[in-house]
């Protein structure tokens, strides 16, 4: 036993040392605070985002074999549902066809790790990303007029991450 042992510290001091250790060993990325602030600034605070639930995912995992792999995904929240067909274009590229029901001309944004892609659904609720990178994706569906001003009852939708 030595005298200057950490072993004998009271819990709270040991936890304080652990905090300091982890803060130094795995520091917060330098840009994270700024990214959060920018996200908060640019976010439309008048819109609430309801979480769409993934109801169904069918089809073979992508990227395993030939060209004709197609995966179907269906999300819903209340009466709103969104179906998507994900087609493998090869070389890590995907085509997405989607249908929003009930039909509405909403903006659809696919947020991926490296980039964002936005398209507008038609009046019939159809949307299409003709060529996207495969990978982790999160969908945001926003009312079209989302950029202007505040408005109490607008509602958007979002999903968990899924893989296209």
């Amino acid at each position: 036993m030595t005298i200057r042992s950490d072993a004998g510290l009271p819990d709270e001091e040991l936890f304080a040392r652990l905090r300091r250790m982890w803060s130094r060993r795995d520091p917060i990325p330098a840009e994270l605070v700024d990214n959060v602030l920018v996200a908060l600034e640019t976010h439309d605070l008048g819109t609430e985002y309801a979480m769409l639930t993934l109801l169904e995912s069918s089809g073979a995992p992508m990227g395993m074999r030939a060209i004709s792999d197609v995966k179907l995904l269906e999300f819903s929240h209340g009466e709103r549902s969104i179906m998507m067909r994900v087609s493998d274009l090869g070389k890590g590229r995907r085509r997405i066809d989607g249908w929003i029901s009930p039909a509405a001309p909403l903006l659809v944004r696919f947020e991926q790790d490296d980039d964002d892609f936005t398209t507008a659904a038609s009046a019939e609720g159809r949307f299409d990303f003709s060529d996207l990178p495969a990978g982790r994706t999160r969908m945001w569906v926003q009312p079209e007029a989302v950029h202007s001003g505040r408005g109490g009852s607008r509602r958007g939708f979002t999903t968990d991450y899924f893989i296209v």
């Binding site: 040392r17 982890w22 990325p29 605070v33 602030l37 908060l40 790790d113």
Partner: protein
């Protein structure tokens, strides 16, 4: 090795560190609710580093952890009106972040390795040669001992260290442990850590 671990403990200044964070957060959030926009910046600066640590304890990769932290803040501004107790804003943020971290870690459990450069599961033999060499003073010794603990203990200790009033029920669920076992497990993990520290002292 440029590990300059000569920081000596300043226990008096550290003791209340986490309650300061809670109080500052509550004050800033209160001012934001009453219409002072700059107060949100303060809250973000205060809580983001804590959220980062707790989210990373779930073994998420850097980019996933960043996403979870951002999602947590967006959830706050989207649901700010429905937060029952603004004084417990830190708890609300931590709970939201833990849930999201848990969900993301579940969703990607098959494709993302649980460990990363920090929580890397190192077998004891592998760890000891390197770690004992590193273990010259304070933080390095502590780090070496922490790395010898089970992954579960490492996570639990990290979460408990950064949450002032951890919700043991939810943490239990998130770590796949029986509810009610966290208190005793926390105790066991701490004891094991202390044992490892004593052993290291003994071998010096």
């Amino acid at each position: 090795m440029s590990d300059n671990d000569t920081v000596r403990g300043r226990p008096d200044g550290r003791r209340a560190e986490s309650s300061v964070i809670w109080d500052d957060s509550a004050a800033a959030f209160g001012r934001w609710l009453s219409g002072e926009p700059g107060a949100m910046d303060e809250l973000v600066h205060t809580m983001t580093p804590v959220l980062w640590q707790v989210v990373r304890a779930y073994g998420l990769a850097q980019d996933q952890a960043q996403d979870v932290v951002q999602t947590t803040w967006l959830a706050l501004v989207q649901r700010s009106g429905s937060i029952a107790d603004p004084r417990a804003i830190a708890a609300w943020l931590l709970t939201t972040a833990r849930r999201e971290a848990w969900r993301v870690s579940k969703a990607s459990a098959t494709s993302i390795p649980v460990s990363d450069e920090v929580l890397e599961a190192v077998s004891e033999d592998e760890a000891s040669a390197e770690d004992v060499a590193l273990a010259r003073d304070g933080e390095s010794r502590l780090w070496a001992c922490v790395r010898r603990q089970s992954e579960r203990c490492q996570r639990l200790l990290r979460i408990v260290a950064f949450e002032q009033r951890p919700d043991y029920g939810k943490i239990a669920r998130d770590l796949g442990m029986p509810v009610g076992s966290i208190g005793p497990t926390r105790g066991r993990c701490l004891s094991k850590l202390r044992e490892a520290l004593e052993q290291m002292d003994g071998s010096r």
